[in-house]
């Protein structure tokens, strides 16, 4: 099974065959991969080199914490990628992004409004919880299509606050 993994615009071609082997950009390596005791920590023996990492799904892909460094990886199987590129969808992530409350709290500021253009990293909502004011930021450029809360609202965890198209 062929996959394309992307980190920061750099792509890697990885082919997995069932014989405990992989091909990384054409190079053949033996791979022994397993979860450690059912938690999101994984151990990989790649040609006798030992790597341990924390892997978890994230909003924009898979988050890999390896040797104290964080990588955001998107993985597509080869067929899906070909289809996507043929559809002319372009490289930028499509689909709307829903900003959800990471925990219960109080909305203390809404510095954006519907129709406003935002860039990656700009503040969308200021949420007060755990005794601190937390800025929730846009993960990518886009246009605010819905603002579902106002200042003074109390929100539950995972409540949708702002939608970016």
């Amino acid at each position: 099974m062929k996959y394309i993994a992307t980190i920061d615009e750099q792509t890697y071609e990885i082919e997995i065959n069932e014989a405990g082997e992989i091909l990384l950009n054409g190079e053949r390596l033996s791979a022994d991969f397993m979860a450690v005791a059912e938690h999101s920590v994984y151990s990989l023996l790649l040609d006798d080199d030992s790597f341990e990492a924390h892997i978890a799904p994230h909003d924009l892909g898979l988050e890999v914490l390896l040797r104290g460094r964080r990588y955001m990886v998107t993985v597509e199987d080869e067929r899906a990628r070909i289809l996507r590129k043929a559809g002319g969808a372009g490289v930028t992530p499509t689909g709307e992004y829903q900003l959800k409350a990471p925990m219960p709290g109080l909305i203390v500021a809404v510095p954006v409004e519907e129709g406003q253009s935002v860039s990656r990293g700009s503040d969308l909502i200021i949420l007060e919880s755990m005794k601190m004011q937390n800025e929730l930021k846009a993960p990518r450029d886009g246009v605010v299509s819905r603002v579902r809360v106002q200042v003074g609202d109390s929100v539950q965890q995972n409540a949708v606050l702002v939608v970016i198209s």
């Binding site: 898979l62 914490l65 993985v75 990471p102 755990m130 601190m132």
Partner: protein
């Protein structure tokens, strides 16, 4: 001589206090809110009483209910820990009026140091240098503050008199922006402390926050246990502390230590306390404030002096004379403390909540962990985000740093995001290693991204890991692969997996 103490707190500090009581043969009484029924402090104590619903105002801040439980349980003393009611002179007074011992200073000392403006005036009168700013006591009105500001000089800070932690604090760079900032500072102070009064202080550029631990008994002895360097802060919350400070020499340590003791004597202090100083680049030091309680970072002082501060607190409250004279206190080696918080350092330190699924605590020589968390415990939004304190000791500062790096790698907490990577980056930062930093370092001159550049970069391995993970997921969902020796269906496994990662 009391033989039962009620701990009016929760989390790691409640566990810490219970440990000291155990070693002294004193019985312990714990109190808990709705979400703390399974907490470590409840399980370690001899007796435990329900306080109320989770929000602090309905539980850990209910002084009357706490005193009532103490009387009911037969506890003869109350230890307030830190935070919650620990610096409330009204609570200390109520405890004493109920005929119980308060393990801390006298209510009058708490009051004297609780109002920051009064504290400054009191110590200035005793000849202690203070950060230049508004003099004297009394609530100053806006027009008076605006008149005094140019004499103090810009940039200056507007600070709340009723409390700290950055609330009600605003930096002012020029006179014209002052009226607006005064208004917002007062509003925040009013909301945080119920008191909108403020005072002014000059900003000391490139300052270091260095504090001294003191112990005072009922028999007139006041000693200091050396200093702690606490300059690594973010939004006025300390993240990392070390003892001793790489910025002081023996002479300055002795001088500032003596000034700290003088400050304590000026308010007739008893029990444990901390005097905070700001030290500028030229080694001029200024009194900032006094904390009339046990502090979060007390373990590093314990590691370098060998003194058990909580046990000394209890002994002092029992009327014992301090066992140590100043000449008995020696600083041995170096200790660093990293506060492990439930925060994401890659995402603006956003706090996280959840259930701890794994907690592998580092150990080995020179490693101490003070924590209240355990696998299965819920991190809720009702209290602060401190999960654990990781403290490492070394014979030298270099050894302490290497040991801390090793311990941080070993420490595994799953279920919430933690700021461990931030501490790892600080331990690898050249400026930190060189001891060159000040209170603005974290916010202005440190970035997680910059630190990533210097680390081992293995994107191809990360790509392989992510791909194997994704491949495994699709295979298991399609029931192609059996995972290990489990005999449950793979759909159940995927469901369980998703639940852990919600």
């Amino acid at each position: 001589m009391f033989d039962k103490i009620l701990i009016a707190n929760r989390g790691e500090i409640a566990v810490r206090i219970i440990r000291a009581c155990r070693e002294l043969g004193v019985a312990t009484v714990a109190v808990f809110s709705d979400v703390d029924r399974q907490a470590l402090h409840v399980r370690y104590a001899d007796e435990a009483y329900y306080l109320g619903p989770a929000p602090s105002r309905q539980s850990y801040l209910r002084g009357d209910a706490i005193i009532e439980i103490a009387l009911r349980s037969g506890a003869k003393a109350i230890h307030p820990g830190y935070g919650f009611l620990a610096e409330r002179d009204d609570f200390a007074r109520a405890v004493e009026e109920a005929g119980l011992s308060y393990i801390g200073p006298r209510p009058s000392a708490i009051a004297a140091m609780g109002d920051k403006a009064i504290a400054r005036a009191t110590v200035a009168a005793a000849g202690v240098p203070v950060v230049p700013g508004t003099e004297g006591e009394g609530d100053l009105r806006d027009h008076e503050l605006l008149k005094l500001a140019p004499d103090i000089g810009f940039p200056l800070l507007i600070k709340a008199t009723a409390g700290g932690g950055g609330k009600g604090m605003r930096e002012v760079r020029s006179l014209d922006e002052m009226p607006g900032l005064l208004e917002s500072a007062r509003r925040e102070a009013e909301s945080a402390f119920g008191d909108g009064n403020v005072y002014l202080e000059k900003v000391i550029e490139k300052a270091r926050h260095i504090e001294f631990q003191i112990l005072a008994d009922d028999h007139g002895t006041v000693i200091h246990l050396g200093e702690r360097e606490c300059s690594l802060q973010r939004r006025h919350q300390k993240l990392l502390e070390e003892a001793p400070s790489p910025f002081l020499d023996e002479k300055l340590r002795a001088e500032m230590g003596e000034v700290a003791c003088k400050t304590a004597r000026a308010v007739d202090y008893r029990n444990a306390g901390t005097i905070e100083f700001l030290v500028d680049q030229d080694h001029n030091y200024y009194f900032l404030e006094m904390n009339t309680r046990l502090q979060v970072e007390h373990p590093i002082t314990e590691m370098v002096t060998g003194v058990d501060i909580v046990k000394e607190q209890i002994r002092i409250a029992r009327g014992r004379k301090l066992r140590y004279a100043q000449e008995d206190i020696r600083i041995n080696g170096w200790a660093i403390e990293c506060r492990i918080n439930a925060e994401d350092p890659y995402n603006n330190f956003l706090p996280s909540t959840g259930r701890i699924s794994l907690s592998i605590v580092p150990t080995g020589p020179g490693v101490r962990v003070d924590t209240g968390i355990f696998p299965g415990c819920e991190i809720s939004p009702y209290y602060d985000s401190l999960l654990s304190k990781l403290i490492c000791w070394g014979e030298t500062r270099g050894e302490a740093i290497l040991r801390m790096r090793r311990a941080l790698e070993e420490y595994r907490i799953l279920g919430v995001t933690t700021n461990t990577a931030f501490h790892q980056n600080i331990m690898g930062s050249h400026r930190y290693i060189a001891g060159v930093f000040d209170t603005r370092f974290v916010e202005e001159r440190f970035s997680m991204d910059e630190m990533e550049e210097e680390k081992e970069d293995l994107p191809d391995i990360a790509a392989v890991l992510a791909t194997l993970f994704a491949h495994r997921q699709t295979q298991e969902a399609a029931n192609i692969v059996q995972r290990g020796a489990r005999d449950t269906s793979n759909w159940k496994w995927v469901g369980r997996y998703e639940r852990i990662h919600r």
